[in-house]
Amino acid sequence: MTDIILLTVRTLKYYLRNPAETIPGIAISVFFLLVYNAGLSGVSNLPGFHGSYLAFILPVAIISAAINGAGLAGQSLVRDIQTGYYTKLLLSPARRLAIIWGAMIAGATVLLVEVFLILGLALLMGLKSQTGLAGYGMIILLTFIWGMAFSGFSVFVALKTKSANTTQASTFVFFPLIFLSSTFVPKEYITSHWLKIAATYNPTTYAFDAMRSLLIDGWQAKPLVLGFGILLAFATVTGVLSLIQAQRSTRLG
């Protein structure tokens, strides 16, 4: 446990000293919130669309922040592998998995800070939620699970390839994950057949749906069960993959 705390603190210090690594993630999320809300809020006047567009677009900003925060986990591991510090940690009696969890927990912490910032900004912009404080709690929890899922993915790529470029490049799944979904309009409004299919199979859609139901419709069982269920399944898959890879990379070669 001490090892995990020590290594998490070390990585967090790195982020504090290198804000350039975390600021773009926040900037993109703020951009989503401000620009899309300003440019597309007319959509909410369409017949059948209920609730504010701000509440509708907020989950997109939050999930985008989560992807950026979680992607940091893999990137910090690759950095350590390349400087040789990873080997130094392997030579120490530190718990093997603490070396990897330290990076993941630090990424998750950045992610939570980013999500709080985005939520705060939305509240300043006049966000109203149907489910109040508990609903925000649920949104943060959903984001955290989603973030862990993505962090598992980035750690897997980092340990598998040991390449900074590939790990950086892998964060580009950000685009299909965010955009092949009910990003700007509800799924019913998507006219393109292929995009509708893609949105149906994209786990992000269910994160959006669950968050939007909390903000706009109040407590609804179906989107929450689907949201938590699918995200947990997704996180389990990437979590198991990263653990297997972690064990493989820290085991004797």
Binding site: K88, S92, P93
Partner: protein
């Protein structure tokens, strides 16, 4: 201090990487509290053995114990008792020297207070105490990085210290500083030191016991004095302008000396009372009109041991050689 087992035993260790055999049945024993020099050229398998003993690489055959503990089954316990400075330093370039040392101490189960005290102590030991505390490790010179890496390996006062080519690429002054520190650690703390080197001088001056490795196999082993004595006699080296001449000289000199061999354009003769016998050798060569460009008489060196065992010279000049990137 004397009761602790600080020995290393390696029994028929093999390591292959695909078709390539890096270590081929290596066996050796390092006594508690001794300095052991593991000498060999680049790619001979030195780093591979260190990585196996330091528990970050598995062997494909054989077994090894460090401080009486099996490296394969007791790896965590082994890690707690050893200090390791690998050839490629492992430092986080954005951290400060003190931060790295304190974190390292904490990972080796020291309390925060102990770790802080220890890092100040070590910074003094390796001569980095006066470095600006805010300076990032990434901005350190190569020699400073190496010294900090050594300090990191010493944080928990290990029983056994592994140094993988600790002076490769260092300037002569830094090399001597590292040598002095290694001797001090061994003498004052009774630390067993296992060091790999490609420098004969380093092994000769530091090590109580030397093993020479070539192509994954131990080719000679003993104290430097024993090894040199195994050559027995003095060595007269004639240098010629061409390897061709050296080959002709070999034939002529053969009946006159105990043993003779060529290495490029040089001919090495092993014989007793070299100085007294030299004129005779010169007369023979002169009669054959072989132009000698240089003659030296020397006591046998570890290089001669290496040449004797492998048929090639190790021949590395530490002052000229750039830091090698090839895996060894």
């Amino acid at each position: 201090m004397t009761n602790i087992d600080r020995s290393i035993t390696v029994t028929k260790i093999t390591r292959t990487f695909g078709d390539y055999t890096a270590l081929n049945g290596v066996s050796l024993r390092v006594e508690s509290g001794s300095i052991f020099g593991f000498l060999g050229p680049n790619g001979a398998g030195k780093s591979t053995l260190i990585k196996i003993l330091a528990t970050i690489l598995a062997s494909t055959g054989g077994s090894a114990t460090v401080g009486g503990l099996d490296v394969a089954t007791k790896s965590t316990e082994v890690r707690q008792r050893i200090g390791v400075a690998l050839q490629d330093v492992g430092l986080d370039p954005v951290m400060r020297a003190r931060e790295l040392l304190v974190l390292q101490g904490r990972l080796y189960r020291l309390s925060t207070k102990e770790a802080k005290l220890r890092s100040e102590e070590l910074l003094k030991t390796v001569g980095l105490a006066d470095v600006d505390a805010k300076r990032k490790v990434g901005d350190f010179s190569g020699g400073m990085k190496r010294r900090l890496d050594l300090a990191l390996a010493l944080v928990h006062k290990p029983d056994i210290l592994f140094l993988d080519e600790p002076t490769t690429g260092l300037d002569p002054v830094s090399r001597v500083q590292i040598w002095e520190e290694v001797r001090r650690l061994n003498r004052e703390l009774g630390m067993t030191i296992f060091l790999t080197t490609q420098y004969l001088e380093e092994a000769d001056r530091l090590a109580d016991h030397v093993a020479i490795i070539n192509d994954g196999m131990i080719v000679a082993e003993g104290t430097p004095t024993e090894l040199k004595a195994s050559i027995g006699q003095e060595v007269v080296t004639f240098a010629f302008s061409t390897p061709d001449m050296a080959a002709k000289a070999l034939v002529l000199l053969q009946p006159l000396v105990t043993k003779v061999k060529t290495s490029g354009h040089e001919v090495l003769c092993y014989l007793n009372q070299a100085a007294q016998n030299l004129p005779q050798l010169l007369r023979v060569l002169d009669a054959a009109k072989l132009t000698i460009t240089n003659v030296t008489i020397a006591q046998p060196t570890l290089d001669d041991v290496f040449l004797q065992a492998t048929g090639a010279r190790l021949n590395i000049d530490p002052t000229k050689e750039a830091r090698s990137t090839k895996k060894s």
